[in-house]
């Protein structure tokens, strides 16, 4: 029975209609429904569709208005904007601010919070980004096994445009601006614990720089130093480093052991223990993800 179900699943994924009536797949249901409609002579009428569309619109407006009115009423019950005694400012915030520098070594309390006290949450975020870029890769990658004639033509056309229509002014400007953008991104990543910034914002800046380079010189130029292999290597290495270092600090912390990682003087670049490493990992993942999204959406390949 289990085997049958599995075979039906494989058939459904391959896009074949299910012939076995006992197994309910969406495809089989659609076929059955069409057969029933044929038998009874029932037709999908335009009038019913129109009535449904109007009903849908009216109910959508009613639902939206009721939600907005409820929320507007709730807003006036909230503590005043900017009030110091609102219940959100509780002992958790006090702890993060008063003990933060001493326990994490990070001058920026937000970084100390998201990469030390709540580092597991940030690991989840990086994994979400990785999952998103993986699913986009599955959906949009045009490789040998997953390409239609149309897409083949499209790719050839895109590469023709990329080769023939090179804008000299844009390229010269980008050649000057791009190193500055990358340097600024690296600066923001490395200063995540002593000033506003960190892995996510710095990674977004570096990803923007790569996208600018890819847009002006073409994806093929980027592929000279950043192809799918480097993409996979950088992302997995960063995520594994994050997981390993945080597993180490959780293990030692839970067992009351010394981590052996010096926190350094707060405010110096080489301080705050693992936060710098985690920031670099997050920055690498975000850079790869941003550029990966761009390359996959624009050309269907990395």
């Amino acid at each position: 029975m289990k085997n049958e179900w599995f075979r039906a699943l494989v058939r459904w994924i391959d896009g074949e209609p299910a012939h076995d009536r006992r197994i309910r797949t969406p495809e089989g249901q659609r076929v059955r429904r069409a057969r029933r409609a044929q038998r009874t002579g029932e037709q999908f009428s335009d009038q019913a569709a129109k009535r449904f569309a109007w009903g849908y619109r009216i109910s959508a407006v009613v639902i939206c208005l009721s939600i907005v009115c409820t929320l507007l009423y709730t807003v006036f019950q909230l503590p005043l904007f900017g009030a110091a005694d609102s219940p959100a400012n509780n002992e958790v915030v006090e702890r993060y601010i008063e003990k933060g520098v001493e326990e994490t070594g990070a001058v920026n309390f937000v970084t100390g919070m998201i990469l030390d006290y709540r580092a597991f949450d940030t690991f989840g975020e990086s994994s979400v980004l990785f999952l998103a870029v993986t699913s986009v890769l599955i959906l949009l990658l045009r490789d040998k096994n997953n390409i239609s004639e149309e897409e083949d033509l499209l790719t050839a056309h895109e590469f023709f445009i990329e080769r023939e229509m090179q804008d000299l002014i844009l390229q010269k400007v980008v050649a000057v601006v791009m190193p500055c953008i990358l340097l600024f991104g690296i600066y923001v990543v490395l200063n995540g614990h002593i000033s506003p910034g960190g892995g996510f914002s710095g990674g977004a800046i570096m990803g923007g720089g790569l996208i600018l380079y890819g847009a002006s010189f073409g994806i093929l130029a980027v592929r000279r130093f950043f192809n799918r292999r480097t993409f996979t290597a950088i992302t997995t290495a960063a995520l594994l480093t994050y997981a390993a270092s945080k597993a180490y600090s959780f293990f030692t912390g839970a067992n009351g052991l010394e981590t052996g990682i010096p926190l350094g003087t707060p405010g110096a670049i080489l301080s705050s223990g693992l936060i710098l490493v985690l920031d670099i990992c997050v920055g690498a993942v975000v850079t790869c993800t941003m550029y990966g999204f761009y390359a996959l959406f624009a050309r269907g390949r990395l």
Partner: protein, 127 residues
Amino acid sequence: MKELFKLAVVYRFELGAILLFGIGFMNLLLQKNLIRKIIGFNVMDSSVFLFLASQGYIEGRIAPVLTNGSMQAATYVNPIPAGLVLTGIVVSVSVSAFFLALVQRLYLKYGTVEFDEIMLLAKKEAE
């Protein structure tokens, strides 16, 4: 009435967030173009971020980065909403990228991004 107006000025960010939420929600429900639906979804996301950020602000305090060696909680605004908004932005980016990839696949298959036309074509294909 005057008092209500004064209160509305005090709560301007929260009220703006709720109105943005309503606008995004209406776009999500009523637009037929799938890309506009996704834009509506993103407007909803932004409204949530605005609401969260406004909840963390405290009048007369400074950004949560150690300044002048002051370690009093009464010096800084609440750092927790900043972290939550960060999480939200990441998830919103990932989800919109996934949506847009699905829409691109749909476009390559059916040649349109209008929801109604795709449904009609899919129905015809099934029969």
